[in-house]
């Protein structure tokens, strides 16, 4: 059962039970909705952008432990970053959870997000781990339609 612990690391379980920045954001000037039709996960990501800096960010919604923890930790890591920096982290994160991280690549940018590396062993859960990130991306682009992982 070691693989299971790779996926459900304590940090992930802890964030899924007590998600950070889990609220509406009155100061938000960007917002998007993300939906994973396969499992019914649904999140709204709120962003308060100042210039191209993410001054504040929050989320709300329902989903599995992986998607919720990912959303929670995402809000922590991108807060205070520029849009470009956030997108870059998303790129690295995506590579890691899909098992395409370049060999010898630095994980420092990902910081605590490396707890999601076990997701690469569970291909059907990649969408769960990336849903919040896709939604953030849509919010930053100012897309109106809800994003879907399909």
């Amino acid at each position: 059962m070691s693989d299971l612990r790779d996926l459900y690391q304590d940090v992930i379980l802890e964030h899924s039970k007590a998600p950070r920045n889990y609220r509406e954001l009155p100061a938000a000037n960007h917002k998007a909705e993300g939906f994973n039709p396969l499992c019914g996960d649904r999140f709204t990501v709120y962003v308060a952008l100042e210039g191209d800096a993410i001054r504040d960010i929050s989320f709300q919604g329902s989903g599995c432990a992986i998607s919720k923890a990912s959303a929670s930790m995402m809000t922590q890591i991108v807060k205070g970053k520029t849009m470009a920096e956030a997108e870059k982290i998303f790129g690295r994160f995506h590579e890691m959870v899909t098992g395409h991280a370049p060999a010898g690549g630095s994980e420092s940018e990902l910081g605590k997000l490396t707890v999601f590396s076990g997701v690469s062993e569970f291909p059907v859960r990649v969408k769960c781990a990336t849903l919040a990130w896709h939604t953030l991306h849509a919010a930053l682009e100012g897309k109106q339609d809800p994003v879907s992982t399909e």
Partner: protein, 424 residues
Amino acid sequence: MTSAARKLDGEKRPVSATGRFDVERVRADFPILHQKVHGHPLVYLDNAATSQKPRAVIDAITRYYEGSNANVHRGVHFLSENATEEYEAARLTVQEFLNAAHSREIVFVRGTTEGINLVAQTFGRAQVQAGDEVLITAMEHHSNIVPWQILCDEKRARLRVASINDQGELLLDEFANLLGPRTKLAAVTHVSNALGTINPLKRMIEMAHSRNVPVLVDGAQAVPHMKVDVQDLDCDFYTFSGHKVYGPTGIGVLYGKATLLHAMPPYQSGGDMISSVTFEKTTYNQLPYKFEAGTPHIARVIGLGAALQYVDGLGMENIGAHEHDLLAYATEAVSAIPGVRLIGTAKEKASVLSFVIEDIHPHDIGTILDQQGIAIRTGHHCSQPVMERFGVPATARASFAVYNTRKEVDALVRGIEKVRQVFA
């Protein structure tokens, strides 16, 4: 094999010397069951999505391709005659299985979804006009919602929905009240895939007929678990999928009363469905060929025939009794686990155990069970309105077939305990 030998013979095999139903003998018929998944024996509890196939079905398909493959209804040569005979023998098997009055009332389609779409596109388009109504229930699969929605949009007709109660049972009075002068069709499920509810179909059909409303039945989840007699039910259309009743995917049946099928315009057009074509005029073929345009999936039809024969060999009463025992056993054991809530607690249920666990998302339940070799379905089960009715985004669903055992239910219960440990 002659067509006579293909008749359902009613001889029941899986009963051991002691006269008890012998599930181990049934399991031996299913090659796929004897494997390990993630180091654990496979426990396959996703039967409402699709059932596994017995050796008899796999062999029938192989035998057909190795010995009889040819196009049907078109050749004078030996193989074509053989293929046609086997194809038509399967139709007789289906006729007998559903107790239809005539074999021409049995139309082969891709599955339940196509059966419903066929009726919506032919009968529906001809009968439903602006201001008319189509009545469904709140427990339908998307495939018995969307075709009617599209038809109603196109015709500016109205889709009416009869509600269900907190147990997941249809409100019969409401159903009766919604059968109005403008109702052109009632399209209802026999058994709910998300809840397991068995609808009181015969009464519903009587109610509808007393108001001259024809009834289409989605039988996808019923046919694997109970004897269906379309003449006794007096339904106007009945459709099911082969793959949920131990047959191949991509093949299913639409039963329709001959008088209705006869009056309906064709569905798809092309070869086989015509009797004569000139550039001025086409005369459609007789039933059921009018609705079977093009070269059909011959091997799958033969596989389906073999599946229904297999089911008949086990005996539907034996299957129903065994599954009923499993469901009762599982219901008691799973509902006793702290934090578990069952979704769908109708008095009359078949083979489906849908549940949620407090503070644990069904998707996580599914992954953790899978790591123990246990296959269940998680999600909305193509029944989003049902999920909404119960205020959950998704459920975990274990569904049983004739080859499942109490030991497998025990494994499920241990698996759920493990889920709770991971999240403790």
